[in-house]
Symmetry: C2
Subunit: 416 residues, 2 copies
């Protein structure tokens, strides 16, 4: 099917900085050829020796073979990384022994071609769930070809290669000064449907030429995921393939950041956070059929966790998301979603705003409620729903999009 580009698609692909210590190649294995579509669908990254990595993966109990391998490799290799292969067209999830065979064949090709240890090789796949590959070596057989073309990454080609229902390639980059050393961050992401917090998201990779100890990187990545990729939702459906990894090559030559006390840690963490947040918000803005991008802020809860639960109930409610699509400022549905979160609610303390327009306070509609002003907010392509529970210090922000006819269309036609 032809997907209409998201109204939030950026005009141009961002310029990403050069990340020292890695090479990449993208190409077409023909996953989409049977549908008559010519496009890249696989990429290979090779990392210099000394590269550390961290990863967070779907919490799904039907995780793909690739996710299960990555978890195993991350542990067995103690956070060392030398290669990454990701492809679209087939998620290799619920493919049984055939899925494992496919990964074995791909890993064999990676270790043989690149001369690296098996547990430093990472895999990902995205696409239809449950369809087994006829040839387990389908991807592996293509690795030598990709390896022969390794060079400075064509970020746009890589970001496009793992797209599925995405309508634009997603990337984010920046260079920051870490104690006098310019350090690069470049990230790519894919994702549009099957997107829901409480996981570690679709597929996204961030590359930096900083050197960072693996344990430190892993802890930091978990924290950042909670407020970026795990704070977005498109449809409340959690994928079997969600993967977010960060690779720190150490290519700048600066000594490794080993602890949170290192003077460079804060700047490193901020840059990684900014990259992840930018990528996560691009995923929401490319949500299947999305016409509105909405920020949901909940404050005044007992804990951040409680605030996030309320925010997710608002952000995932089909009734609120269809009202967003229609530009109908139906604030009573926000009350409904707050209530069904089952978090402690003191109705008399509850207040709700659409951008700066207060629509409810004191357990009822705001006395100065202005329907026209509320509707004007919901008519905008981007706005904020803010809820104050009114009794605590816990706050959380979640990002979502609307539920439109486009979502129904896209997901009725995806497999065909």
């Amino acid at each position: 099917m032809n997907l209409k580009p998201s109204p939030f698609a950026p005009a141009t692909f961002p310029v990403l900085p050069t990340v020292k210590g890695l090479r990449a190649a993208a190409g077409s294995r023909g996953f989409y050829a049977r549908r008559g579509i010519e496009r890249d669908d696989v990429f290979l990254f090779a990392f210099d020796e000394g590269t550390n990595c961290a990863g967070v993966y779907t919490v799904s109990n039907t995780a793909s073979a690739d996710v299960r391998w990555c978890r195993e490799a991350l542990k067995a290799g103690a956070g060392k990384a030398r290669a990454l292969v990701a492809h679209s067209g087939n998620s290799n999830a619920f493919t049984g022994p055939k899925g494992v065979e496919k990964n074995e064949a791909t890993l064999k090709a990676m270790t043989g071609t690149l001369g690296v240890a098996r547990e430093t090789c990472f895999l990902a796949a995205t696409g239809v769930i449950g369809e087994p590959l006829k040839d387990p070596n389908f991807v592996g057989a293509f690795v030598p070809d990709l390896a022969a073309r390794l060079g400075a990454p064509d970020w746009r080609a890589c970001a496009r290669a793992f797209m599925t229902t995405d309508t634009y390639p997603k990337a984010s980059g920046r260079t920051v000064d870490l104690a006098g050393t310019p350090t690069a961050f470049a990230g790519i992401a894919k994702g549009s449907g099957m997107i829901m917090p409480n996981m570690a998201t679709m597929l996204s990779y961030v590359f930096t030429d900083a050197a960072v100890a693996p344990d430190l990187l892993q802890g930091l990545l978990k924290d950042i995921t909670d407020v970026t990729f795990n704070a977005i939702t498109v449809d409340g459906d959690t994928s079997t393939s969600d993967t977010l990894m960060v690779f720190a090559t150490g290519g700048t030559g600066a000594p490794a950041i080993e602890s949170r006390d290192d003077e460079r840690f804060r700047a490193f963490a901020d840059a990684l956070h900014a990259t992840c947040l930018d990528l996560a918000l691009q995923v929401v803005k490319d949500g299947e059929g999305a016409s509105k991008f909405v920020t949901v802020k909940v404050e005044g809860a007992d804990t951040e966790r409680s605030a996030k639960n309320v925010a997710c109930h608002i952000a995932n409610s089909p009734l609120i998301k269809t009202a967003m699509a229609a530009g109908d400022a139906n604030w009573g549905r926000v009350v409904m979603a707050v209530g069904k979160s089952l978090e402690p609610i003191v109705m008399e303390k509850l207040a709700i705003w659409f951008d700066d327009v207060q629509v409810a306070r004191g357990g009822a509609r705001a006395p100065d409620y202005d329907e026209a002003a509320a509707s004007a907010v919901f008519a905008k392509p981007e706005f904020t729903i803010r809820v104050d529970l009114g009794y605590g210090e816990g706050a959380s922000t979640v990002w979502t999009c609307d539920l439109t006819h486009g979502y129904v269309d896209i997901n009725g036609a995806y497999r065909t």
Copy 2:
């Protein structure tokens, strides 16, 4: 807006039996008049002395003023009931002190007109959330008019009076023999959107002329709710007004059923269950925009609760519901939903059927998978998704509908 009738709308309204010991009247208070719609929107039931009742209500923490009153009355009156007023057009939820004032005025009219105790009077309201009534006595002032017209219930008029986005009135009735005494059961329900298990459903009332002790009735109603109204979903959104009550008038003159050991208890329970299930399934079949009615059966779990959680994840998944709408037998999305339930999953033991067509087993697509056969099932207006987790005895059934363009349309236009 004009709603297209559900394809599952019954050809005729059912014939309900005469329930001795109650009278009713329906009428129009003009809630819909401002939109130029003439229709009934309120009903009153009056019960003979000796009527017992039981009720289950929304678990929402932003429950309506009416729900909060019913909980209080049920407790204060020890399960005695003399009157019920329900109306559509406004849910009286999140209406603050004004909502309480409205209920006080209505209760005053009920007690004054009918000469009954306050704690035996029950209330319900359904419609837009958060819109306060200008006149707190708007409903109360109409009670004398309704009381003057009390008589044998016009069930169709009552069932229509509390409809909102429903496209047909819902009712179910039967007469059963309880140890030689013919005993009547008549129930009505409304509900179409904001429908999700883990609650006590939209608005539904069942009336019987059996005599049953209040505590026994309450315990039985809770059990039945779990496998009827709490086992259906349209959109995963839980209402602020969900109410299910049963009124047992004792009008047959038979002695009261006081315990589960009474020889009549099983037949009574079965009839109440059948009435509730029929009403609950009618709600799903009238789900906003629904074109498919789908049964989700999960078995082989450790517990019934675990099976139900998996079934609800399947029944609520927007990706599965849009695939249903399109008739796309995308069974991989069922794997996704099973996984995101976070219940224990042994992938190698998981099996999935669409009606009798097995699509997955042994942790992968079924070796004899037949896409044409699977698609033929999804093309039907009614079918079953069956999942066997393969390791335990816990089983549960949940009923759902598809997610269509109609849902998006209805919920963009509901308030306007």
